[in-house]
């Protein structure tokens, strides 16, 4: 785990760690809004104690799926199971999930400590316990010194930490995060997502983290589920998702992907003048493109080469080159910075795919 400069030294209260992570299961969830099919028979299994990121473009149904787990929205069909128990008809207030919302959601008339203690107050716990637990959780999210403040006196990042503490205070079975970082600026976002991961690992709480930011999903999740138009395209570990995307949609949504003109030939695929094996299933016919990651392309200065370096973007150890190829194709290539010094814009180069199987998708 990364160490953070501002990371608080809080540790999880013992009673929050007592419960082992609880599994979440969605079976054939369908939700229709008028003519929009927000969820289209969604099946999903979240293992106890894991952090699963739900990733997908805007409008693909991520929030709808999360709201179905929390019980804010009743699916038209399908079931929600928490710890093997069917909770589809259980109202939100009895579901025992903890949710952090995309919009700021702290109660404006309550102090930070009162916000965190709200769930305990509703459960009629003693005042002493409320105060102690709120203190512990604020310690955990590094805001113990803000207990007496009101929400409008906090920054956006602090408000979301308090919202996290509030959701965790009732020791929920499942933690649900709906793009909790999307309103924050980039630096706070990275810091807070790592903090969420630290807390999640410490508590071992099953967590569903909704995001449309693939870097966020890949960096914190045990597994990532890619959602498209209300259906799961693939659920896999971040490495698998990146290296072995199951579909062209996943390949292009996760990480950067080049589309290179290609032809299917003799059981392989021909691109950039060489032949490579096809990864996974090839389309049955029609024009195709090869999908190649920037680091899976090799570039070499070559006075006779047909490619031209267009831009060169240095980013520490690696440098990203944009290379124009004949036929109006442009690809991006990552090279080690140490080897890229001669590759200034305008340099003639050849580009070849690395020796490995290549993903192929229908063109267009």
């Amino acid at each position: 785990m990364t160490t953070l400069p501002a990371a608080p030294a809080g540790t999880a209260p013992a009673e929050l760690r007592e419960r082992p992570g609880v599994g979440v299961r969605l079976e054939g969830l369908t939700r229709r809004y008028g003519s929009v099919l927000a969820l289209d028979g969604l099946d999903l299994d979240v293992t106890g104690g894991e952090l699963l990121a739900l990733l997908g473009p805007s409008g693909c149904g991520k929030t709808t799926a999360l709201r179905a787990i929390a019980g804010f929205d009743r699916p038209d069909a399908g079931r929600v199971l928490l710890d093997g128990r069917d909770v589809t008809d259980v109202p939100a207030s009895k579901r025992d999930t903890g949710m952090v919302f995309q919009a700021y959601s702290l109660f404006p008339n309550l102090t930070v400590a009162e916000n965190v203690a709200f769930g305990l107050r509703v459960r009629r716990r003693s005042r002493i316990e409320q105060r102690r637990r709120a203190g512990e959780l604020l310690e955990l999210v590094g805001l113990a010194d803000r207990a007496g403040r009101y929400p409008h006196q906090l920054s956006g990042g602090q408000q979301q930490r308090v919202a996290l503490a509030r959701a965790l205070a009732v020791a929920p079975q499942v933690l649900l995060l709906d793009e909790p970082l999307s309103a924050l600026d980039a630096r706070v976002r990275v810091q807070l997502r790592e903090e969420i991961r630290r807390i999640q690992l410490e508590l071992g709480i099953t967590t569903v983290f909704v995001t449309h930011d693939q870097a966020e999903a890949l960096s914190v999740a045990d597994r990532v589920g890619v959602l498209r138009a209300g259906r799961l395209e693939q659920v896999a570990s971040p490495d698998d998702l990146y290296e072995r995307p199951a579909t062209a949609f996943v390949a292009e949504f996760v990480g950067t992907m080049n589309r290179v003109p290609a032809v299917l030939a003799g059981g392989g695929v021909e691109l950039l003048g060489v032949r490579r094996p096809v990864a996974g299933a090839a389309p049955s016919g029609g024009p195709v493109v090869a999908l190649v990651r920037p680091e899976a392309l090799l570039v070499a200065a070559d006075p006779a080469g047909e490619g031209r370096v267009v831009t060169r973007t240095f980013s520490g150890a690696s440098t990203r080159l944009a290379v124009a190829l004949p036929g109006g194709v442009e690809v991006v290539v990552d090279v080690a910075s140490a080897e890229s010094q001669a590759l200034v814009p305008g340099t003639a180069v050849t580009v070849t795919p690395a020796e490995r199987a290549v993903l192929v998708a229908p063109a267009g």
């Binding site: 939100a92 207030s93 903890g98 919302f101 959601s105 109660f107 008339n109 009732v170």
Partner: protein, 295 residues
């Protein structure tokens, strides 16, 4: 009695969001003073004149407070003021009972009805009150005969009891709808009530609990605003009461203005002062409210 209706309009201004002050433009400062002075004179001159009129001691030419000290004992004051207060309180209660659940329901469950509700509550502003009153009067004249001998006739009589005319309460609720709706709606604009209620539900709160712990605190200031506007409206309403022939505070002021002009103006000045006091009280309560976003 016009003093009170003017105060009602001042109160409505308090609900609207403040305009940001654009600084740095040359001449803006001067203009601001010109506008402020003009507006100040416009309001202060009549009030000052009224004050002077009521404090002047007719014969000796000195100053006297006797027109103010004489108010409580004045013939008809206690009766009509008490009645108007009762009408005002009932109107506030009924209007809030009607509109708070409506606004919350529209916000949380039926957002598509928002425009419809907004237009409906605006109707009383568009329809001249005189049309409303004439309509009400025709019904009141026709109904007791038509329903003669049935319990309904009794209801119509009860509605028009001079000691507490409920019919006025119903008409005033209609007249107050635009103000009440605007005030409540303005209170919801700044907060994401739906997310707040979902957060509370998620933490285990039942619906009644959500209403008491989340919705009402969020709406507190706007409920106060709405109540105040409604009260000011009722305490200053003349047309409807006069045409329907009921004796309320404003009609009483007109009644005595012929025989005791200084007393009637003194009452108006006093009620204006009271209205301002209420307004100050509400804004003070509002400032104490901790969660309020600094606009």
């Amino acid at each position: 009695m016009s003093a009170l209706s003017t105060a009602g309009v001042t109160g409505a201004g308090g609900v609207a969001p403040e305009m940001p002050v654009r600084a740095g433009r040359r001449g803006a400062g001067t203009w601001r003073w010109v506008v402020l002075t003009a507006a100040g004179l416009y309001f202060l001159v009549p009030i000052g004149a009224s004050l002077w009129f009521t404090l002047r001691d007719g014969g000796a030419g000195g100053l006297t407070a006797e027109h103010y000290t004489g108010i409580p004992a004045a013939e008809g004051f206690a009766e009509t003021f008490g009645r108007s207060l009762a009408l005002g309180s009932l109107t506030v209660l009924l209007a809030l009972l009607l509109m708070v659940p409506t606004v919350v329901l529209v916000e949380l469950r039926l957002p598509r009805l928002r425009t419809t509700v907004e237009l409906l509550t605006l109707l009383p502003l568009v329809l001249p009150p005189i049309a409303l009153v004439v309509g009400v009067r025709s019904v009141l004249a026709w109904a007791p005969d038509h329903f003669f001998g049935t319990p309904l006739a009794e209801v119509f009589f009860a509605l028009q009891r001079p000691s507490l005319p409920w019919i006025l309460v119903f008409v005033y609720v209609v007249l107050a709808l635009p103000f009440v709706y605007r005030a409540l709606d303005a209170g919801l604009r700044g907060t994401d009530l739906r997310t707040l209620t979902e957060a509370a539900r998620n933490l285990g709160a039942s619906w009644p609990r959500v209403l008491v712990s989340v919705v009402l605190p969020v709406l507190r200031t706007s409920v106060l605003n709405a109540a105040f506007l409604t009260l000011a409206l009722v305490l200053g309403e003349f047309t409807v009461a006069a045409i329907l022939g009921f004796r309320t505070f404003p009609t009483w002021i007109l009644e005595i203005s012929g025989s005791q002009p200084q007393l009637s103006v003194a009452v108006s000045v006093l009620s204006l002062a009271m209205t301002w006091l209420l307004l100050l009280l509400i804004s003070a309560l509002d400032r104490r409210r901790p969660g309020k976003e600094s606009a």
